[in-house]
């Protein structure tokens, strides 16, 4: 693992940006009573950060309901994400999608997705675009240990494999699907074991170690870009909060378990690894921490001060073209 200073700092910055977005943005969204369907990826920062660090802006990525980290790591601006969570017109999706649908096509970010597994074939399709148009782009499909049991993953891995598409399948195994333990729901000890059935490499990696993530993702991305087909990477990780921040995870997991994982915090792990090397100082990182706090302060302010969508936007962007009157025909809408 050879990395220059800038690369290291960028990884750190991405991780703390995600952490701060989750720690600040989710409670703020909750206070504004926007939605209960907001999922924190705090604890999982190393996976999103490490994987996306291996991608360019042109590369594609399909995400999940727990996708804030993926978005930030792929380059989506936190303030437009915050505005989206707050349901504002300035949001990434103009307030139409919310946390579970954040997208930024200009960054190859094909959307977080509210249906578990549903974004996987979208990434496969984006990889197909890359192949057919010879764009040299790679597509990443994120999913969880729960998503690993959806049939569409199996179909998508088979399809990507026979067409040798540039896809990296990334399982974030955080041990639970809502309250259901992965070890109960998964018939295999490791999701990565399934790769063999699809003729692709399958790796099981520590997802709390951003350097290990970078390494594994770097290889899989290179393989994909070289035209050698897909890979399946499984990262062991942990979400610090409940499924949403509104449930109490201690009803289905232990304090000891949480402590065990928090002790392996990916941001702390970064500091513990990098600081002893001397090239980067604690003060620098502390300074960045403060900047991330400030960034969220600003993002919340930006979002709060942003206008709400006009009521009439209810009818916008259902289609590219459709007779406007048909969207409300005979429904006796007030607007």
């Amino acid at each position: 693992m050879e990395m220059d200073r800038d690369t290291l700092l960028k990884l750190y910055k991405t991780m703390i940006t995600i952490r701060n977005f989750e720690e600040r943005g989710i409670p703020e969204t909750g206070q504004r009573r926007m939605s209960a369907s907001v999922h924190s990826s705090a604890g999982q920062e190393a996976v999103a950060t490490g994987v996306c660090s291996q991608l360019t802006d042109e590369d594609y990525m399909g995400s999940t309901h727990r996708g804030h980290g993926h978005c930030i790591a792929k380059g989506v601006e936190p303030r437009v994400m915050m505005a989206e969570l707050f349901g504002r017109a300035t949001g990434s999706n103009k307030g139409k999608g919310g946390s579970m649908h954040i997208a930024d096509m200009s960054k190859g970010m094909l959307g977080t997705n509210g249906v578990v597994g549903a974004s996987i074939p979208l990434a496969v399709g984006a990889a197909l675009t890359s192949k057919v148009k010879k764009l040299g782009r790679v597509a990443v499909a994120f999913f969880g240990d729960g998503g690993a049991n959806q049939g569409i993953l199996h179909e998508s891995m088979n399809l990507a494999s026979i067409w040798k598409l540039p896809v990296v399948f990334v399982c974030e195994n955080n041990g639970y699907a809502m309250s259901t333990p992965a070890e109960y729901a998964l018939s295999t000890a490791q999701v990565s074991d399934r790769a063999a059935g699809y003729d692709m490499p399958g790796l099981h990696i520590d997802g709390m170690d951003v350097f290990a993530v970078c390494d594994a993702a770097g290889e899989a991305v290179a393989r994909a870009r070289a035209g050698d087909g897909p890979s399946l990477l499984e990262f062991e990780t942990y979400r610090y909060y409940g499924h949403t921040v509104f449930d109490d995870p201690l009803t289905y997991r232990s304090k000891e378990e949480e402590d065990h994982w928090r002790a392996r915090d990916p941001i702390q792990h970064f500091r513990n690894t990098v600081l002893p090397l001397g090239d980067i100082t604690a003060e620098e990182l502390d300074q960045m921490d403060q900047e991330a706090v400030d960034m969220m302060e600003e993002a919340v302010k930006f979002a709060d001060e942003s206008p709400l969508p006009e009521e009439i936007e209810l009818y916008d962007d259902v289609y590219v073209s459709y007779p406007a009157a048909e969207l409300k025909r005979g429904t006796n809408m007030g607007i």
Partner: protein
């Protein structure tokens, strides 16, 4: 303003919709060993051997709380995130001697498992020449209004009216929830039970003993003479609220609570329209090929000569469900829209 006998008698204790569902499941499972229940999170973590039988959540909306403690792992099964397989398995189990209840967490996800419902549950009996019964129940959730956006807010019941071989019920309160769920579980055909997320906390009188309400029967929740309002699930209460308002301006609306989406109790609606001569159906689903449209079309066909105004509907627009509250507020039909629609029918 009167309510029909089909409403629970007053004097009974009041419980929440969610509690009524839970109580029904408990009673049906106690009554009949062949009833099992499966779904994501229904025991919530209790599936893990090393923690013993601990009920973490009791379902995402606590409707299945306590079941695993009472009936054990064999009959209360947490499932992996594999709707096609576990709903298919529930159908297979139901065609071989069990009465399986399976939960699809939100109706929005129906597209990942619809084939099992439509091509197996709905058709096996017919295709097999009557050899099999499929006493399968699917419990699922509908309803917008919670900032849950386009993939967690739908009310796709119309497609269950459309497909022959399926039945469907849409309870509107705790009383009908308990009685219709019992009916669904005891029914020898596949039945989909739609729970509206906006009703879980609503309390109402519910008898403690188990009882069954007939599938395919609507009920009149407010008698009236001037217009018939038909509500589906939570929309029933939008209709009654609108009716109270309309009464102030001298329009006496009859409100019918549809309760079943298959069979549809057209006769109940048509009888009412033959007396009131006007109809508005209020449906939270989108308008085209909808249940609202279907009921309007039947009334137009069968009560044509009785109608004094066009059979009309108040529905969601032909759009996905938007996230921002300011948009979503207009999406779901409300009293104001019902009232203005009714008024238009009287002022044509």
């Amino acid at each position: 303003m009167t309510t029909t006998a089909s409403l629970a008698t007053s004097g009974t204790r009041e419980i929440q919709f969610r509690e009524a569902v839970n109580e029904c499941l408990r009673q049906e499972m106690a009554l009949d060993d062949s009833v099992i229940i499966m779904g994501e999170e229904i025991a919530g973590g209790a599936g893990r051997e090393d923690q013993g039988v601990v009920d973490a959540w009791g379902g995402p909306f606590r409707t299945t709380v306590g079941l695993i403690q009472e009936f054990g792992r064999d009959r209360v099964l947490d499932t992996p995130l594999s709707e096609a397989a576990f709903i298919g398995a529930a159908i297979g189990a139901s065609s071989t001697g069990l009465r399986a209840v399976a939960e699809l967490m939100f109706i929005d996800f129906i597209g990942v498992c619809m084939d099992q419902l439509v091509n197996n549950a709905a058709k096996m009996r017919y295709m097999f020449g009557g050899q099999v019964k499929v006493p399968f129940t699917m419990m699922t959730r509908i309803g917008a209004g919670f900032g849950a956006a386009a993939q967690h807010s739908e009310s796709y019941y119309s497609i269950f009216s459309h497909f022959p071989g399926l039945k469907g019920v849409v309870p509107s309160d705790a009383y009908t929830a308990k009685g219709l769920l019992a009916a669904a579980i005891r029914d020898d055909d596949p039945v989909v039970f739609f729970e509206h997320k906006g009703l879980y906390g609503e309390k109402g009188p519910v008898p403690e003993e188990s009882y069954v309400l007939p599938i395919g029967k609507a009920r009149t929740v407010r008698a009236g003479t001037d217009i018939t309002l038909v509500g589906i699930s939570k929309m029933t209460w939008v209709c009654t609220a609108a009716a109270e308002e309309l009464a102030k301006s001298g329009i006496d609306a009859e409100v019918i609570d549809l309760l079943s989406v298959s069979p549809i109790d057209y006769d109940h609606v048509i009888d009412s329209v033959k007396r009131t001569h006007r109809l508005v159906v209020v449906d939270e689903d989108t308008p085209i090929c909808s249940l609202a449209g279907d009921i309007c079309s039947r009334v137009a066909e069968e009560a044509f000569d009785y109608l004094d105004a066009p059979p009309s509907r108040v529905t969601a627009p032909h759009t996905p469900v938007p996230y921002s509250r300011v948009l979503e507020n207009n999406y779901v039909p409300n009293e104001a829209r019902v009232i203005s629609t009714v008024e238009k029918l009287f002022n044509r």
